[in-house]
Amino acid sequence: MLKAINITKKFGALAAVDDLSFEVEEGQVFGIAGPNGAGKSTLYNLITGFYKYEGKIEFDGQNITGLPTHKIARLGISRTFQIPQIFESLTVEESVNLGGRFGSSGKYDSGYCDEMISFASLEQERSDKTDLLNLLGKKRLMIAAAMATKPKILMVDEPMAGLNALEIKQMTNLIKKINQDLNITVIIIEHFMKVLTELANPILVIENGSEICTGTPEEITSNPEVIACYLGDTHDA
């Protein structure tokens, strides 16, 4: 469904993403892990057209390399950000409707936008200004607005960052529902390995912009290179 072929992004001499290739299949929850600065969010920025890069990315067989962000969104790739990107003076309902009006390639469907507000458990906050929402509310809102574009792939960037244990459980359930009930392919970047291994399969682990390994949660968590990358190299005393 989404295929990255030898993509590289350099900032000066530094390769933030270095000759990376991977493929996401329809229906998967595809996890991306790696330490801070590994190039995970840069990778999202490449897929969604914020940066130019070397290599090629295909979506549903179509080459999307070089397309502007709004066109990629209209093709069916939506995303959220680690720091919520909201429209402060708009209400929850207006924000979600923006996704429905502009991001969906089909006709604007206000009923579907309403469904997404309910789906993201934002019914009670529907008429609230978005800057009044708490962090979980803002994250739910980003997901609802992204879902209103009727995406084929939803990319979420560290959705658990800053949430408490109960909120993490709620967010985990929401992502599961998106994948299982709405049959939407999900790509998730997450630092919190316990959550990532519960949600995603397969998981791609990157460091310094390059792939360390890709595999099932079991394979990943038992891979010595991954362990070293997260816990540091072991050495003899």
Partner: protein, 290 residues
């Protein structure tokens, strides 16, 4: 005494309504792109020359009706394509807002000198939009001022309607608040930037037609208009449309009172004093965000 005060207030409202029409365009561009358009005043002059060319040079039929009907698409196309051709390529570069400011400063000089080359250095006179006076009780208004007021208010209301009720308006608001989030929900940021520039060109250009028929078409008017529009947007809060509206009305009123009681010569210093005091205590302006 009472009648005099009412007359001064009406005069302030008249000034304020045209100032609002022109300053809001500048605030809109800054609010959406965070780049300051130094060529803004030159589009005011362009409006005046457009009307003069149609009415005086070509002698078209239909008078000001034809002028306004053709000026709106003309100014839109000029604004849209200038943004697309000159400013849009800068956005791929770092620190593009600063480069855009330098470029629009150059564009302003080019246009102002271009007007002198094409139309000559002398002022041009436009026919009055209407003649005569309107008497309501003890008050006597020039019909010309009444029409300027009505057209300015109509322009402002139309702008507010577009911003709040149309697809373009929603896209403009979304990009102004969060350009990254806007793109993610499928809004074409670059097209919104160009449309914003075009809408602001219409607003100041129409202001130019309205005021040039009252005064003159002046090839050197742009600097004064640019300063006036900047003072209003800075006082109201850079990028705040509501702030610019209030600021335009306050400054229009201040000018009317200072002009009446202290003399016209003190108007500019009074306005700038108000601006400096405001910015000293509230650098973000009346309604700007820090």
């Amino acid at each position: 005494m009472f009648i005099e005060i009412i007359e001064v207030i009406i005069s302030g409202l008249l000034n304020g309504s045209v100032y609002a029409l022109m300053a809001i365009g500048l605030a809109l561009v800054y609010g959406v792109t965070k780049a300051f358009n130094f060529a803004y005043g030159s589009f005011y002059t362009m409006g005046g020359y457009f009307a003069w060319t149609l009415l005086v040079s070509l002698g078209i039929k239909g008078g000001y009706y034809t002028v306004f009907l053709t000026a709106i698409p003309f100014l839109f196309v000029v604004g849209y394509f200038l943004e697309k051709i000159l400013i849009s390529p800068l956005r791929k570069r770092s620190d593009w807002q600063m480069k855009a400011m330098m470029l629009t400063l150059g564009l302003s000089l080019f246009l102002d000198i271009g007007y002198i080359s094409v139309f000559g250095p002398r002022l041009k006179s436009l026919p009055d939009i209407v003649e005569g006076t309107l008497t309501i009780g003890p008050f006597v208004f020039m019909n010309q001022d009444v029409v300027i007021f009505i057209l300015s208010i109509t322009g402002l209301l139309f702008f507010a309607w577009v911003l709040n009720n149309t697809r373009v308006g929603m896209a403009v608001q979304a990009v102004a608040q969060n350009p990254i989030g806007a793109q993610i929900v499928g809004i074409p940021k670059d097209r919104v930037f160009a449309a914003t520039f075009a809408i602001s060109t219409i607003m100041v250009g129409i202001g130019g037609i309205l005021l040039s028929q009252k005064n003159f078409v002046n090839p050197q008017a742009s600097t004064g208009i640019m300063i006036k529009a900047w003072v209003i947007t800075a006082f109201g809060g850079m990028g705040s449309i509501k702030g610019s509206l209030y600021a335009a009305l306050i400054i229009g009123m201040l000018e009317a009172f200072v002009g009446y009681y202290l003399g016209m010569i003190h108007i500019e210093i009074a306005v700038l004093t108000l601006l400096l005091i405001t910015l000293a205590f509230r650098p973000q302006g009346l309604m700007g965000r820090e």
